[in-house]
Symmetry: C2
DNA sequence: ATTACTAATTCACGAGTAA
DNA sequence: TTTACTCGTGAATTAGTAA
């Protein structure tokens, strides 16, 4: 478990190289006695979170990974995450509109994204370089629009994130059962974006996705 | 003191609005009993880190500030901080060269920045918009080159950060007793940057400063 | 100087439970 | 349901100290 002792060691740069750190110093900085600091370092070492050689301390990869994950999660929630994609408009097959129009989805969008989308999706093909960012995005906490059943057909849930396309508020959606691969972002907005932004197939657009930010 | 309970609350977005969070939930997520979670929330409330109204929890500004500070510090150390300045070359008064040439400083640069600088400084005037970033930079942990006394004269310490100017490794220095204001960044590098980058007064350059990153 | 053991102590914990 | 009280227990902490 990542403790304040690990945070202190990381602040000291003990993840890059062995750093001379005494138990007394840790004690003072984390508000415990020297003996407790000693015990904590021993137990961190036993748990494989640090290694010690000759009074110098190194934080292990394991601990670095855990710490980074925790910090990222909290900081993303605290400050939001912004990812910018550059892409080009590509033609859809009209399938998007059918899904977006579904009443239950509409209700979900209105409630969770705070707008009623225009019945249609704008497909943006992102560059090779942005695929990595796309994967990063999917690690962010999404706004989930629940799926539902409609007699014969099942409509899966939709993960979404608020975004701005060329500065206009919108949302990027990742339907559970998407027909699109990693290359295409599906965008919905309160209006017909093609008209509003005068877009046609091949137009270049900038999509700035902001995760972990409220309406 | 910022605890894992605060982190959990922040992940839940309890810094933006009151969030319904039960003691049982906190207990489960932080690996303690419901009773302990209850006690911890009570003590957080007593310490003014959270407030509770009708089962909903909000994290106070005080706690948010502390958490942000801690997270930033650790994350900066872990991942380094990168700040990009755009600026223009301006003429110096030759004073920089005199200081940089001092043997003691030279030794310090070589040891801490891992290069022997060309005896001269390149002055980059940054835009209005970048002043804020400059202040941000000075909050980062600097590489400190110690000052010294030379009989009559006192040479103050120099704070420095590694950087890349138009992609070339260099360092930006902030002498304790600088003649420059907030507008000008002083750059040193292993070579004559004016020649190497074919710069003249007024040339536009990009300076990417990377703090908290080793040589 | 620093580390970490043992012994004494405390105070944090979970169980049980009332509201 | 959830919260938070009391109480008994022991794990975690500090003091003292040896190495």
């Amino acid at each position: 478990m990542i403790s304040s002792v690990i945070f202190y060691l990381l602040k000291k740069g003990a993840h890059r190289e062995p750093v001379r750190i005494t138990t007394g110093e840790v004690a003072e900085q984390t508000g415990v006695s020297q003996q407790t600091a000693s015990r904590k370092l021993i137990s961190l070492e036993r748990d494989g979170l640090i290694t010690r050689v000759g009074g110098k301390v190194v934080v292990t990869e394991k601990a670095i990974g855990e710490a980074r994950k925790l910090l990222r999660e909290v900081l993303d929630s605290l400050e939001g995450t912004s990812l910018v994609f550059n892409g080009k408009i590509v033609a859809g097959i009209g399938e998007g509109a059918f899904f977006v129009k579904q009443k239950k989805y509409m209700q979900g969008f209105d409630k969770l994204l705070c707008f009623k989308p225009f019945p249609g999706t704008l497909n943006v093909s992102i560059g090779e370089n942005d695929i990595e960012k796309r994967l990063q995005l999917r690690e962010q906490k999404a706004i989930i629009i629940n799926g539902f059943k409609d007699g014969k057909r099942t409509f899966g849930k939709i993960a979404s994130y608020r975004c701005a396309i060329n500065g206009i508020p919108a949302a990027v959606i990742f339907p559970e059962m998407s027909v699109h691969g990693l290359q295409v972002l599906e965008i919905i907005a309160p209006y017909n974006l093609r008209k509003k932004l005068s877009l046609s197939d091949g137009s270049e657009v900038k999509v700035e996705v902001t995760a972990n930010i409220p309406c």
